[in-house]
Symmetry: D2
Subunit: 341 residues, 4 copies
């Protein structure tokens, strides 16, 4: 059993914990955080299903006063695990890395951390091999992770030359107040970093894109114009997307009218936190353009990187040396393909 | 075991089903709906934990094609139960009532249905007695139900003469597209129906209020100015609210910054759909005004009426003749007081 | 002096009135409407700078009671003019057309009216010739009108083969309550009608696109991926856009951070209603993709069609037979190129 | 002719400039700012109707490069005027005060500046006398300024004892990106500072209140529960509000459905920037509660303080020693009462 710890129990950290807890070949040793945040308070109200370790600078008394049991220090946690998932705020992970190094522990960082923290940018489907037996991996951001699923899917189908993406970015998560936007679309300098990051994972593709922030909290929407080495028809694209375990093909006529439908659907499914792990592609948006194809997809920003992060544990720890086997195990424990039957 | 059925499996119907399923002294016989909506699709993807009955006019073939098993007709469902919870769209419940009458079944309607559908307006805390052994009960709306919890709590404390409320209404539920509002506050004619409805449950109080719609999806915010027969201090109010099982007293400094924090907290707690059943009152908003008191509260509109609806089953079916006992049973099975210890 | 009347004094009608009033070679005879709407009340409060005619079914007494002077019937207005601008609600224009026919008057319809209302789809820059001396013209929608400015500009530069657009549509105008959207992105079936409409004006280009509605009120944002007969560099595109009278090239570093900056800038400029007639293209969004170019543009939906509608008067009435001369006159009176010096 | 200068040409500064320019007994000498912001660029595009002075630290070259003419330094401006209106960002005004002191110039500060900057908190209607011949005045915030109009109006009618307010605050101005809020209501610690500030102007009234931030940009909405020394009927309140020059009484049935209607109406009126100077009170929201009265009002946050700021010039400079005369002059030049006839 591979032992896993989690640093930073925020939006992503909570979901990593729940995802790892579902993997029957992994043991979640515990999570580490610094303050009795709402997430920690919710964990306590749930009866502390995961052990809590305190990072340096944490005010233990504050936890004691609330009756929240702690299991030791950050060092204690790192000493007990094989792999740390680091979802601490950007800039903290790079400091934590020194602890991981000292203890000889492997670590997987989230997209918000500085690039230099890792030996390799990782994506379960697109470059699993590159992560096998490596010590420090870094996921791409939520947008890039989800986007690559779709791009890699078409790339495996016909070989892609070029993609041009438009990212309609949700500006805040549900529960955020500090980074909101009110009645405005905010434009970023192009090319968007997601297009640039895609090329770090898939260097054979020329990618560019424009990003605009929108005042919503439920999921990014991305349009992709993809040009391949041969013509891609709408039918080919639909079939390839439907065959992918981490892509849902949805339709307007079924009630999936936009990103809020998917958010609601995840809650109605009863998954932890109401999360979807899959991106969704609207069948109704797929159109041919020249020999290429254009389509629109949904990224559930809070949870989309969970499967690929678990893939990264498998790769880094050498649990499965082959990518197909690795992602299949992750999918099985997250119960991903079941909905398709 | 009291047998319960649910008509209409939408936002409220789903939550009623989950809430009834938790009551160990009730049996959820099944739910009824007309079309393979997203809610029904999610139920199917969950493996059909509840039996599905089809109402008149349903296209059974559409369900068959999707492989969704059905258990019979609406009539079949009504024939098998003691109490129906009717959360069908407004106007449908009053037609369903004819079926309930014909079968001699009791029914509890939601706030959206016409008033004349019921013998009595019901609120678990404020007028349980009025519902005991009655055939047709109607809940107040989500706003009124939550509001009455707080008003009744102070009324039991000192006796209230008068309340003036301001409702900052969330305009749509997560997943809605058809009744949105963009960058606008929409004003209603005063007095708001919630103030008027409150008086139907608590006729000894003079209530009035103003309602303004706001473009958010997470919970109504209400301010209450309450004048009592004697002075209410801030300390008295806090204590009374803290002692109430369906009220959470929250604080800004703990991270409950607004309605989105409560929505997020519900998801983090892992309750079904991420729901909260409790209203929340911000300790930081409680201020004295003259001899009265002013405070601000949060209504989780999707789930707040679930406990009182279950209370209504208990009253109508005579499971508990005493209100305190009735609500205590509901609270126990919904696991409501646990968070306070 | 060409005499002009306006049917329908709503968001567009008001702006047409103000735009026509600025044209020194046209006379605005009056406007027609049916009820004392807010727009009409504002006109009255301004002292009735334009004469008001009442359409059939209007309640003259309601106007009288408010002290709003009227100048006659819709028929009276049509009898006095050479060209009617019809900005009545969709479906009304096609009935009004019978009156125009009977009186032998020319008419220009807005994009919301049914296509069959007109002999020709019109765009001042892209197909002025087609409208010369025609009786019934129809503008394209606000999105399409603005989009074609940019596409036509590049088409004149190198000849375009293909465009793929992503429309991030503002869902409501400031002042709207009935078609809002709250915390949701709503997806449309592709291809978007704007791409299809573009081909009706520019049939030599293959156009497709995806549209997503966003909860904002200030301006649509569109990304365009354009492929030409020869390579388009970023510099070529910037120069061509800067040379266009109805395109502003803006930059993030100058403070144009998104669509709300442009809305504010229009108000600060002191134009009527705070309107911008120009689309804006962010220099920072222009990126090369293959031999093509990608860029992002802003459409001020309330006012963007005003210049092309005035062009349409010039074409239909034969005031200028040549497109370049026609649009130059419109631009001069709207004071469009001045800001560039 | 009283000579006036303006420090800080942002949202408020622009409107002060336009408001002062309309006063026939004042001369606007010029405005001062530090950088070529969008507001300054718009001023330049308008042809520099006001002279621009540069504050210390301004990069004159940046202005020169854009061809924007400047007229001198901040010191130069202060030297030429009798009264400065200081609408610089909070914290800057208190430094500017040293310059005003040194030059013996009077100054009126906006609500965002620290309280200690001024000798007196000023409100044209409620305490004009306190400002007469004073050197340093400070306006209350936009919310408080508008609120006091309504409260003072009732106070003059029957004498008020107590008010309890609920502020539904718009969170950002049109054009803001940095302080937005997305799908969330953010709660403030009570009592709101607006209630506290009201008492600084009207110390004989006990005021308290709760404030909640909402994701809209057009105008605050406030409900007021007011208790007087004698009963206030709905009719009395309507009459008093209608008689006030800076209050509009509006109705839902006339099309004023919410705050966005008023924003749109201001634009349709053709006032500078599309601004309203008046607050609006919905006749439909006025309800009696006990012997008191409850009502809802709209605050146009960008422009509401302009009239009272101009009153403050009149008071400080001793142009009119009597409040009624002072505000009447301001109203006349702003053309305020005209709409009522």
């Amino acid at each position: 059993m591979i032992k896993v710890g989690i640093a930073g129990y925020g939006v992503i950290g909570q979901r990593l914990a729940d995802g790892v807890a579902l993997q029957k070949d992994m043991e979640l040793v515990g999570i580490a955080d610094i303050a009795p945040t709402l997430s920690i308070r919710a964990l306590a109200e749930r009866g502390m299903p995961y052990d809590l370790y305190l990072v340096d600078g944490a005010d233990k008394e504050a936890f004691d006063k609330l009756g929240i049991k702690t299991a030791g220090s950050f060092d204690d946690l790192v000493s007990k695990v094989d792999v740390m998932l680091d979802s601490a705020p950007g800039g903290v992970g790079i400091k934590n890395k020194e602890v991981y190094k000292a203890k000889g522990v492997k670590a997987v960082f989230q997209g918000g951390e500085k690039d230099e923290v890792a030996d390799v940018f990782f994506h379960g489907y697109a470059n699993y091999d590159a992560g096998v037996d490596q010590q420090f991996l870094k996921l791409t951001s939520c947008n890039t992770t989800g986007l690559i699923r779709a791009v890699d899917c078409l790339d495996k189908l016909v070989g892609l030359d070029r993609v041009a993406i438009t990212i309609v970015r949700r500006v805040a998560d549900p529960g955020d107040y500090h980074r909101g936007l009110t009645n405005a679309l905010l434009v970023d300098k192009a090319p968007s970093h997601q297009a640039v990051d895609l090329m770090s994972i898939m260097p054979h593709i020329e990618a560019t894109g424009i990003l605009v922030h929108t005042p919503v909290t439920h999921g990014h929407f991305i349009t992709v114009v993809a040009n391949g080495k041969e013509k891609i028809t709408k039918e080919m694209a639909i079939k390839a997307f439907k065959d992918h375990d981490r892509i849902r093909v949805v339709r307007l006529e079924d009630g999936f009218l936009g990103n809020a439908s998917l958010f609601r659907y995840g809650r109605d499914l009863g998954r932890p936190h109401g999360d979807l792990y899959e991106i969704a592609i609207w069948e109704d948006t797929i159109v041919e353009t020249g020999d290429g194809i254009m389509f629109g997809l949904h990224i559930p920003q809070e949870s989309v990187t969970i499967p690929e992060t678990i893939d990264a544990i498998r790769a880094a720890a050498g649990m499965q040396k082959d990518g197909k086997e690795g992602v299949a195990e992750t999918n099985k424990y997250l119960n991903l393909p079941s909905w398709k039957k």
